[in-house]
Subunit: 212 residues, 2 copies
């Protein structure tokens, strides 16, 4: 297909598509003549993944390159997933480092729930920073609250992995990483929005109970 069609199917402009090629994020098309380069469905899939990494995930070009290298290494789902998680984490605005006490509390809840992790998961730092944020604001979180949050997070992760496993079953590790990036960013927003609606519902219930 022509570059204009490949760009359209990828959801980017022709200028952006050319930029991805120039940066080596998408392989060159096959030159069929002075004014014609042929692109394939594989280019479209790669361009969609690059767009997910750069636009949705807000990764730097270099971080995107690392994730693409993991995807291309052919070692499968796991390493690409891990590379994407770490790259996404480094794209977030960095806060102060979490306190050892809060990291310890997060490690404890991981142990209590029997979660398997390699120990360098970026979520530990993020969760510990949030616990510090509650404490600094004078509203430290109790164990019951943290346990409810962890159980809800596990339910979210199970839904995420079910969706990813569906895709992985079809053998497309580029699509898996794309959904992982999109799902990480958009999933955070989705749960944030739904939680606000549920808060209103629960606060209405709460007030009814107060009156009864």
């Amino acid at each position: 297909m022509k570059i204009s069609e490949a760009a359209e199917q990828s959801g980017v402009t022709v200028a952006t598509f050319k930029y991805y090629v120039r940066e080596g994020l998408i392989p060159e098309g096959e030159r069929l003549g002075a004014n014609r380069t042929e692109y394939t469905q594989a280019h479209v899939q790669r361009a969609r993944l690059v767009r997910a990494l750069l636009v949705t995930g807000r990764l730097s070009i270099n971080a995107a390159r690392e994730v693409l290298a993991a995807v291309d290494s052919g070692t499968g789902f796991g390493p690409a997933f891990e590379a994407a998680q770490h790259a996404l984490d480094s794209a977030r605005p960095s806060d102060l480092e979490a306190s050892p006490e809060s990291r310890e509390r997060v490690e404890q809840i991981i142990a209590r729930l029997g979660w398997n992790t390699a120990g360098n998961n970026p979520g530990v730092e993020a969760a510990a920073q949030a616990l510090d944020g509650f404490a600094t604001a004078g509203e430290p979180v109790d164990d019951a609250y943290l346990a409810h949050y962890a159980e809800a997070a596990q339910r979210l992760a199970r839904a995420d992995l079910t969706a990813l496993a569906d895709l992985a079953g079809r053998g497309r590790s580029d699509a898996v990483v794309e959904l992982m990036v999109v799902g990480t960013v958009m999933g955070d927003r989705l749960v944030s929005g739904l939680r606000r609606i549920a808060q209103e519902h629960e606060s209405t219930n709460e007030r009814k109970q107060d009156l009864s």
Copy 2:
């Protein structure tokens, strides 16, 4: 107490405390002489709430004023909660408006779960924008995924409201709004971090199942 002690107990500098007073966010202290103004525990509580609104919630001075007016109106927990939710929402970076289709899907899940909402909850727009984000990235969300997310959000909200109800039982609506602001911002980060850890756990399980 002196302003230096009030500032310290509020977790802000004396300059910041004075700024809050100048902006009318904290009432003036009682003048006991040319060089002495007396502040009370009520000033400290108010300063902590103002700090939560401005620093943690990133509200503008004007938005903070509106929330404080709702707290001071004495109409209780509900209106202050609602004012804070809307103010927090307006402090977020605004995206494109959500599509009517995605808003409709969010309304459907609300109806299916029997959630009570007044219909203008800012979470509807946020959740609908996230659904649009998935769709734009070529990874539309199916109903099962959305339902799992909504159920997890309800579990989070129940933990939030239990913590708020504990405080409200002690009759401090300023503290309730403070926890609401801190909990909204920090709770989003907490679940985001825990979800990443749970994803790693679930993906390890997933791979084990693949091998068996």
